[in-house]
Every structure is written in C-alpha cells, then in structure tokens.
Symmetry: C2
Subunit: 274 residues, 2 copies
Amino acid sequence: MSEGNNVEIICVGNELLIGKTVNTNAHWLAKRITVLGMKVRRITVVGDDLDEIASAVREAISRKPRFIITTGGLGPTFDDKTLEGVALGLNLRLEENEEAMRMIREKYERYYAEGRINSCEMTPHRVKMGRLPEGAKPLPNPVGTAPGVLLEHENIKMIMLPGVPEEMKSIFDESVAPMIREASGNLTFYEASLDVRNLPESELAPMLDVVMHDNPYVYIKSHPKRSEGTSHLELHFSTTSDDSKVAKKRIERAILQLSEMIKKKGGAITPVKD
Amino acid sequence: MSEGNNVEIICVGNELLIGKTVNTNAHWLAKRITVLGMKVRRITVVGDDLDEIASAVREAISRKPRFIITTGGLGPTFDDKTLEGVALGLNLRLEENEEAMRMIREKYERYYAEGRINSCEMTPHRVKMGRLPEGAKPLPNPVGTAPGVLLEHENIKMIMLPGVPEEMKSIFDESVAPMIREASGNLTFYEASLDVRNLPESELAPMLDVVMHDNPYVYIKSHPKRSEGTSHLELHFSTTSDDSKVAKKRIERAILQLSEMIKKKGGAITPVKD
C-alpha cells in the first residue's frame, strides 16, 4: 500500500496509561478505517499532558500520513487538553470559533429546556469547548456537547474526536467516514480466517513462506490461540482491492494452496465465521 | 512523578492496526506497571515491519524511560520481526544465544516426547527464536516456546515479551515484575472512584479545579458515562505514595471536600466498588 493511504491514531487519556480503561476506541477506529480502504500505520497513546500531546502530534505529522485522528480530551474539565496540545504542537493560537460556540450553546439551551441542567449560561468551562486552533472547523456531535474538530495542515487532515465512545463513533460515521472513503478511492479490505489444529506454528511457518511468495497480494498472519505446544492457531488472510471479485479470488487461491499443505502434514482445518 | 519512573510500552502486530484484536496486552501491562509504582508514559502500536519497529524503539529510547516493554513478534513465522527490529534500531547484530537455544530445544524435546509435534528438529524457524540482539539475555517462558528477552541499553532496561497473552503475563510476573518493583522503590498506586449523577460535567469542572488545587498530590479525572446531557459520570481519584496510610488519607480528604460541593449543587454520589 502506498504511503498516501496512511492514517495515524493518537489517543489521549491518563485512564489508558494507568490501565483503567481498555482502548476500545483505537480498536473500533482501526477496524472502520481499514474496512474503508485506508491503512492505520501507527497508534500512539499519551496522557492528559500538553507537551506529550504536542510532541505526539508533531511526530505523526513528520511521518506525513493522510489523516491524523485523535480521541479524547475535548470536554469541559481542566484535563481536557487535546485542542490546546494540538495548537501547541502546530504553533497555532486557540480562538473562539463562532460555529462551535453556536453548536455548544444550542445543546445547553436544549438540556436546560428539558430540565437536565440548572443553567444554560456559557461558563468559562463551556466556552473552552468552543476554543479551536485557528483555521479549524467544528464537526457536529449528534449525541454529546463537545464538537469534533477538523483542521487541515500541510495536506494532512487532522480530526479531533471526543473520548466518550458513543460520541466518537457518531461523529466519525457522520463526518469522517465519507472523507476517508473518498481519500481511499473506494479501495476495500477483504479478510478470511482458518482455524488450524494439530500443527505447531513452527511447522506451519515454512508453509506460510511459500504461500505468501506465490500470492504476493495476500497477507497471511498466524495467531496462536494459546501456547505453541497446544497446536491450535488461527490463520488470518487479508487483501485490499477496488474489485471485490479479484479480492475474493486472491484469498480463495491462497487458502486452497495452504489448506492442501496443512492437510498433508496431518493438520485439521475449519473456516472461522465472524 | 519524576522522569526516572517512566515506562514505555511498544506493541507490535498488524492485527492491532487493522482492528482485528483489542489491545488487551497494553491494558494489562499498564495496570500492572502502575500498581507496581511506575508510570506508563506512552503506548505505541506499530505493525510487523522492521523499519516501524526500529523507529518506535529509537524514539522511545530518546525519551529516556527506565523500561521499554515490547509485546508481540517473538515467534517462529516470517512476520515475527521484533528482535530483528530492535537490533536494527539499536544497531546491534542478532546472534544465536546459547541459553535461549537450550530453552527452545528443551521445549520441543518435551512436546515431541508428549507426542504433540512430529519432530523436535531445530529447523531454521525454531532457531530464529533463539537469535537475540548481542548482549541480550533470554527470560524463561513458563507456558510457551519463545523466550522473553532482556537487553540493557543506555541505562534503559528493554524487555521483549511474546504477544500471546498467557505467555506475556507469565514472563512478566516471573521475571519483569520484580525488576519494576525494585526500580520504583516500593512506591504504590492508590485509587478510588465515585459515581456522580444529576450534575453535568461542565458544572463539575470548576469544582474539580478547586479540589485539585487544595489536594496537590491527588489526581482526579472525570469520565462521562455517556453523553454529557445525561449527567452521569465517574470520578476517579488516584495518588502514588510509599505509605498506604498517607495515600488513603489524601484520597479520603479530596473525596470528602468534593462530595460536599457536589451535594450542595444537587448531585447524587455513590462510591464505586471494583
């Protein structure tokens, strides 16, 4: 895959670094981005710290991906520092964004009208969510208060999403997925898995070498299900193409060739359904 | 916490970047390292690619943590590239390590004696697991074949662990946890959580500012349970100390102060049991 298809994910949050929270946001994003035809090159997790956020952003930019997507740190509390960190990393000022302020004000007015909050006053902590790096655009948040943020920098689309999974997913699906699909030129990712028993990974390894050599567009990875001695593993086949028939044929051919080699050595195979 | 307490985690594996696998290894390690009194500063995920592994390692080293722990990529297949990537990053040669070769040979001889594999011959793919960066030491793998690896570089302890969770955990507990505990000087991490309802995060935010200011050793982070409008969140209190009584008192004092402020504003509080 060309460098031009790369995406980087940066997750911000101390809760990820102290092992309080499993990083399901990175997993969800990686899967969606892959299926939409782009390639996640790196995932970086940093804490709620301005310098850490700024340096992670600068390092990602230096690798020139097409997209950088951040999660977390957009809310109203003192430790929501992502926009300030991005601004620091790119040497931009934060400024009150009129459109973002309108989105936030409308949300609080609605919550107030519904009796869910005591006041819809735009306090400093609420205004904070509408202070974006200069040149950025807010992305509507269909289920929460803090808008997502889009910032174009050196031909890289930077997208900042909230850390609450429902909010992150709904902004992604509504505003980000269409951009990624367009950038990938409708490439799609195809995959299939085989469950293999009675053959240890070290005996399978030379077979993979042969089949990968004969099927250069198919990537095969073996995932031992427990320790090697138990001889149970999953083989994952994947390829990327703009033609689903071509992709399917590639994967079928690789599976057929490898299956015959495995059976000859006494291994047992079953396809894995997702 | 001082820079001297920093740990970096590098996870290697395409399956993490395509969203096939949730990174539970990073979560488990982050929690264990935190409880053992050290601080995880960054988690980096890269694919099964020599240059990516090498650059992630070099970048981590430039930040001078006490430990760098990698997961994944130690097995017998072509895409197990971590040791080669580390060697490339540090400009070291790979060489057959006598102790590692003995560990691996003994495992295959046992599997063969138990009838689990067809041959205990040391094939090139099996020898590969015993080729370590020069100067490295193998760490026994109580449940699998590939040994863990310890390499000291510029006062940084680099530890390479397998990606299979059972193997990663058992090498960590047996060989790595004692090193981390010693390095932390028996510091320990303490935490507590409160469940807060009927108070939106934006109204809580200024209270957190006050309580964090008055309790400088306690870190408080708010985790909205869904979108802000629903006014349900978890407050997580944490501190690090070598004295459990001091730590407990610090957290209790911060919880008491914040609870009173929340109740005055009509919020409802319950402690969270893990």
